[in-house]
């Protein structure tokens, strides 16, 4: 049980990275980005493309090459998100298209992006590195692989950085103001288009990083991100759309519930757990834990 909770925490940290980006985009642009999971997939495969080995850092299964590959994934996915916004979402925004049309366009982008991954790498599973890793034993029967500790640490550093960015910088303030009310932010002299670009860049690079971490935790396959979209949405809505710390709490609830549920039911139903949580919160408190309005 304790083991499942700890694995749940590792999964939560990956979900959190994706969900924070998703909730920021949701908060500022007001539409559900169905392509977010597939952005994670792209991140994972960009890292696969650029990862060159580079020995081993301590007991980890990979070397410094992975750090570079992670940065490459964040950079590419961040830039790609901005580019997609310029090419697809901004023209639709300018036409005053409804949020539903934007969500549908994002689903189209999700299909395009995933198909490109299929075309590039095929449907087979891929791994960053082969070979077994010995797990460290901790009290309460907890066993953790060094890689998993690395995932948790990386996610923690990223979440803290995003928090500092949002609450300690002028850009973060502008982002929060735009999320609150875009018209009012414009009146106050905030360049909201710049805020939109920054949001995509941050959300995209976090998604890219989340994809790499997910690839380290298990393996790469073209559907990996799309399957992840339910936990991402569940975490964002649970925490309250537009609220980064809400997404963090939501990610913890979803991630731990999914793993602990395997104690009683088949692991095949993990995404269903995320969905049941989502269904329950929509019934009981649709605005989520920290949300203000729907």
């Amino acid at each position: 049980m304790a083991q499942l909770v700890v694995i749940g925490l590792i999964m939560s940290s990956i979900i959190a990275l994706g969900a924070i980006g998703l909730t920021l985009i949701y908060g500022i642009l007001k539409f559900a980005n169905f392509a977010h999971g597939d952005l994670m997939t792209v991140g994972a495969y960009i890292a696969f493309l650029t990862f060159t080995g580079g020995g081993h850092i301590g007991p980890l299964s990979f070397g410094y090459g992975m750090i570079l590959a992670m940065l490459a994934a964040m950079l590419v996915v961040g830039a790609m998100s901005v580019l997609i916004d310029r090419l697809v979402y901004r023209p639709l925004r300018r036409r005053n298209a409804g949020l539903v049309i934007l969500a549908m366009a994002s689903l189209g982008m999700a299909i395009i992006v995933r198909s490109l991954v299929y075309l590039g790498w095929g449907p087979d599973q891929r791994f960053y590195s082969s070979g077994l890793q010995y797990a460290h034993q901790f009290p309460l029967g907890i066993a953790l692989k060094p890689d998993q500790m690395f995932i948790g640490a990386t996610a923690l550093v990223s979440v803290v950085s995003v928090y500092l960015l949002l609450y300690r910088t002028k850009l973060g303030k502008a982002m929060r103001a735009t999320a609150d009310n875009m018209e009012l932010a414009k009146v106050a002299g905030i360049d909201t288009e710049r805020v939109v670009i920054a949001t995509w860049a941050i959300g995209g690079s976090l998604a890219g990083l989340a994809g790499v971490l997910l690839g380290i935790q298990s393996h790469l396959m073209p559907e990996m991100g799309f399957i992840f979209i339910l936990p991402l949405f569940a975490a964002s809505i649970l925490g309250g759309v537009g609220s980064p710390h809400g997404a963090l709490v939501g990610a913890l609830v979803v991630g731990i519930s999914q793993e602990v549920s395997t104690e009683w039911i088949s692991p095949a139903y993990k995404p269903a757990i995320a969905f049941i949580l989502l269904f329950a919160i929509l019934l009981v408190r649709p605005r989520g834990i920290f949300g203000v309005k729907v």
């Binding site: 005053n96 539903v100 549908m104 299909i111 449907p123 995404p271 019934l283």
Partner: protein, 349 residues
């Protein structure tokens, strides 16, 4: 490329699938085109309809590799109606928490339902035979003609069902009830202010569309005769149907059928092109094409090939004579799919 269609047997199979997908596109049109219900879980209704009809029309399970519930061995019509009812009940359950909320919450929830159901169908062997699927689904009027000619019989049956569905939905949409749906799609607040119970109307439309999708699922099951959970992956079960509707023209049932024909033609022909490819990756060019079509239609031609008619009441004149510019100015936030021209009509309920 085209020569396949000179073979009448191939053409009959092709057209049958177009008609079945036409039924799905009309069902989705009731959801999205007329009411603005954002259902991304068509595959879930597709699957529930197909499996329900299979267990209603088939004999009870027998043999070592067959386990499923039901097996009522009832005629095809009961399969159709049972499938429709099962989907309507499913829609009712999904609708309770989501139809009162923002549209995109229903989209997320419906994706979740479709994916969860698929996992249940895969993992619960006792329910509908897991990944082995159900084979030998009965076909209506099977003894009537020679086996080789049966496909023409089923083509005729599919055509009759599509016609019935089309006429029924057209009548509904051209009634006051249908105009309320379009008013809700355009502006929920205004419709609510006119004394309409938004939730009840949306629920009715959601259940009606789901019923139609269930019928489509039943038609599909008896056409292919063998279904597995893999049939109902989102790409094939949901997105293909969405593309058909928005390419053809959402808000127009003729457009929906035209979209089913156009998109299935592309899907079928590109399938023939890639089927001989050495590299399995080539297969995914078709999926890419579907995604590109979604984005391109939304950006370049949001109304689709055959957009919505401006006026649908049989009692009204042919062309609205109102000052369009005034209506347009009054509704700056009207979505792009619905055009400003019919905004005045939508609120007239």
């Amino acid at each position: 490329m085209i020569s396949d269609f000179l073979n009448p047997s191939y053409l009959a199979g092709f057209l049958t699938l177009v008609l079945i997908y036409g039924v799905f596109a009309i069902g989705l049109n009731v959801h999205w085109g007329y009411t603005g219900i954002f259902n991304f879980g068509v595959a879930g209704f597709f699957a529930v309809g197909a499996y329900t009809s299979a267990i209603i029309t088939k004999q009870p399970a027998s043999g070592a590799y067959m386990t499923y519930i039901g097996g009522l061995h009832l005629p095809y019509v009961f399969g159709l109606l049972g499938a429709g009812l099962a989907c309507a009940v499913l829609a009712f359950i999904i609708g309770i928490p989501t139809l009162r909320l923002r549209e995109d919450y229903l989209a997320i929830a419906s994706i979740g339902v479709a994916e969860t159901l698929r996992r249940v169908f895969i993992n619960e062997m006792w329910l509908v035979n897991g990944t082995r699927g159900i084979i030998g689904i009965p076909q209506p009027l099977h003894g009537l003609v020679d086996q080789a000619d049966y496909k023409y019989v089923y083509l005729a049956i599919a055509a009759v069902i599509l016609l019935v569905v089309y006429v029924a939905v057209e009548r509904g949409i051209r009634s006051p009830w249908g105009r309320v749906l379009r008013a809700i799609r355009e502006d929920e607040m205004t419709a609510a202010a006119s004394g309409k119970n938004i939730f009840a109307f949306k629920m009715q439309a959601f259940m009606l569309g789901a019923f139609i999708m269930g019928i489509g699922g039943a038609m599909y099951a008896s056409y292919v005769r063998a279904i597995t959970p893999d049939t109902f992956v989102p790409m094939f079960g949901t997105f293909l149907i969405w593309v058909m509707l928005i390419v053809g023209g959402s808000g127009n049932n003729k457009g929906a059928i035209l979209g089913a024909l156009a998109v299935w033609l592309i899907w079928d022909r590109t399938g023939a092109l890639v089927s001989n490819a050495q590299d399995p990756r080539i297969f995914y060019v078709r999926n890419l094409l579907i995604g590109v079509m979604v984005v391109a239609v939304l950006l370049l031609r949001p109304k689709g090939i055959w957009g919505e008619e401006k006026r649908v009441s049989v009692y009204a004149g042919k062309e609205p004579e109102r000052a369009k510019a005034k209506d347009e100015a009054a509704e700056p936030l009207a979505s792009v799919v619905s055009t400003a021209e019919e905004a005045g009509d939508g609120g007239a309920s």
